[in-house]
């Protein structure tokens, strides 16, 4: 059964996507890498920033092979700059 995930964009990634968030339907067993692939097709300028893109699912950083579940919230953002 396909799953639906929400994707949130932070900082200047929002300027590239022109939206703070989007939704995406993926096949069962889809991973973070699958979301990135989808997002990069839709927003080529985000693809250019792929090397410095950080990915979290919920409130934890996750690697590309992390398997997603229905209702997951995937956050994409550039390097953090607190302080």
């Amino acid at each position: 059964m396909p799953i639906r995930v929400r994707i949130r964009y932070w900082s200047w990634f929002k300027d590239l996507t022109h939206t703070p968030e989007s939704e995406c339907t993926l096949p069962d067993g889809a991973t973070v890498a699958d979301v990135l692939h989808r997002v990069h097709q839709e927003h080529p300028r985000l693809a250019e920033a792929r090397k410095s893109t950080l990915v979290a699912v919920g409130v934890e950083y996750q690697p590309p092979d992390h398997i997603l579940h229905e209702g997951d919230e995937v956050s994409l953002f550039p390097p953090v700059q607190g302080g």
């Binding site: 932070w10 409130v59 956050s75 607190g82 302080g83």
Partner: protein, 132 residues
């Protein structure tokens, strides 16, 4: 270890924070770090920095850092951190950190580690607000 974490849009209340320090008969060293917004960025004058925080994740990541500190420096007695978000005018602090321990070596090391790690993993970003 006593922990206090605050993400706030209001100016950092330095006086209140100093007054509310938990005193203990064993804390010999108190390190405080204040990160202040500078008046220029890359050589250009700026009016302010505008900080954006992914707040639930920022809180979670800070708590994980605090937990690592407890393991790595068991002697630490207290860590308090306040990060401001939204517009922070030049000259005002955006970050306040206080680390308390029996001895200064641990307090200095832990405080520096916390700030370094924060700048690596805590989802907060800034944009410059140019002078008018």
């Amino acid at each position: 270890m006593h922990r206090h974490l605050e993400l706030t849009a209001a100016p950092i209340p330095l006086g209140d924070l100093a007054a509310s320090r938990v005193e203990s008969s064993t804390s010999g060293a108190v390190i405080t770090f204040l990160g202040v917004v500078r008046g220029s960025e890359a050589g250009q004058p700026i009016a302010a920095l505008d900080y954006e925080a992914f707040e639930p994740m920022a809180r979670h990541q800070f708590e994980k850092l605090f937990q690592t500190m407890e393991t790595r420096w068991p002697s630490l007695e207290s860590t308090r951190l306040v990060h401001r978000y939204g517009i922070v005018p030049a000259g005002q602090p955006s970050l306040w950190v206080e680390v308390t321990a029996p001895h200064r070596g641990d307090a200095f090391a832990a405080c520096q580690w916390l700030i370094d790690e924060m700048k690596r993993v805590v989802p907060i970003w800034k944009r410059t607000v140019p002078t008018p």
